[in-house]
């Protein structure tokens, strides 16, 4: 399954079923990972919805965290 992650197309084998599996495969759910937020198809998804969010071919997943700025 191909998904667009942070704007880049990535191939997932085996195909993930839900957003939790996508984030886990990418390493974002490691215990020591800092806090981040997720937009799935340009919509905010809270952590308690990762498992319930089914992913489909071509969907977009954006993972964002803090940067400095003016």
């Amino acid at each position: 399954m191909q998904l667009k992650v942070n704007g880049e197309t990535k191939n997932f084998v085996p195909a993930p079923v839900n957003l939790e599996q996508v984030l886990d495969t990418l390493g974002y759910l490691q215990e020591d990972a800092p806090r981040f937020v997720v937009a799935y198809n340009q919509t905010l998804v809270n952590p308690d919805q990762y498992l319930k969010t089914t992913v489909y071919e071509g969907d977009s997943v954006d993972v964002l965290s803090v940067i400095t700025g003016g």
Partner: protein, 260 residues
């Protein structure tokens, strides 16, 4: 000096600083310590796992920003790099979730060349964000009608530019800024962007504006930490000067010594 209150919250200083462009997290932190700003701006970016891990390192900029927040500064996420209301609304929602704050510096860019804010997209985004409970501080131009419209929608303040972002050109149109202060006497107006030196900030404060927000002027100074102190003192002096009431200018000379 009367404290600045916005949306019912007291802001500890009328100097607001950005967190970007510093050579190191320590330099940023030292600068923020000297400036003791009311708000510190920051942002969100798409990040890989590797990039995320750097955020969590000891003495990272995020560790310092959290310390700044614990010591009285408020964090103000921005919507930098958004070009539409839709993008800015999503970025605001993501920021609220990550930073646990309703404050948002609404920034919807309309032109990549001069980073001018987009007036109608800013209005559309402000309307929706206010409906969603955000405390919206929009970056805007010095257009009186635009500022009035944003305030009428319920924005907590307006933040007109002095000059394009990062230019350091200072108050390019003091007449128009003066019109804003004159016709919007009750509004909280923060001069954002284009401030180059402490005297620019002081001039804005002497005109009666409520605060100034700057980043590049400190970060690109030869000694950012020292420049933050200069800005802090300039903003305080400017506010005191405005509060004290500046004498009326006169064309005719008048002796200060009563010997004539």
């Amino acid at each position: 000096m009367k404290a600045l209150t916005i949306a019912g919250e007291e802001i500890r200083s009328r100097l607001w600083l950005g967190s970007g462009l510093y050579e190191s997290p320590k330099q940023m932190n030292d600068t923020l310590n000297n400036g003791a700003p009311g708000f510190i701006t920051l942002s969100l970016k798409k990040q890989t796992v590797e990039e995320l891990k750097q955020v969590k390192e000891e003495h990272s900029f995020w560790e310092y920003l959290q310390q700044q927040a614990q010591h009285g500064a408020k964090l103000l996420p921005n919507t930098a790099a958004c070009f539409t209301a839709k993008e800015a609304i999503l970025q605001s929602q993501l920021s609220r979730e990550l930073f646990q704050t309703d404050w948002i510096k609404l920034e919807v860019i309309g032109d990549k060349r001069n980073l001018q804010p987009h007036p109608t997209e800013t209005i559309d985004a402000a309307k929706e964000l206010i409906a969603q409970g955000f405390k919206v501080l929009p970056y805007c131009t010095d257009d009186l009608v635009l500022c009035e419209t944003l305030l009428a929608l319920g924005c907590s303040a307006v933040m007109p530019w002095a000059a394009p972002i990062g230019t350091g050109l200072g108050l390019l149109n003091p007449y128009q800024l003066g019109q804003l202060r004159k016709y919007l006497p009750e509004a909280v107006i923060v001069i954002d962007a284009g401030i180059g030196k402490p005297s620019d900030a002081m001039a804005a404060m002497e005109m009666g504006f409520d605060a100034v927000l700057l980043n590049t002027a400190c970060a690109r100074a030869q000694q950012p930490e020292l420049m933050a102190t200069a800005f802090k003192q300039a903003v305080e002096a400017g506010r005191l000067s405005y509060t004290a009431g500046i004498m009326a200018r006169q064309e005719q000379a008048h002796p200060s010594t009563a010997v004539y």
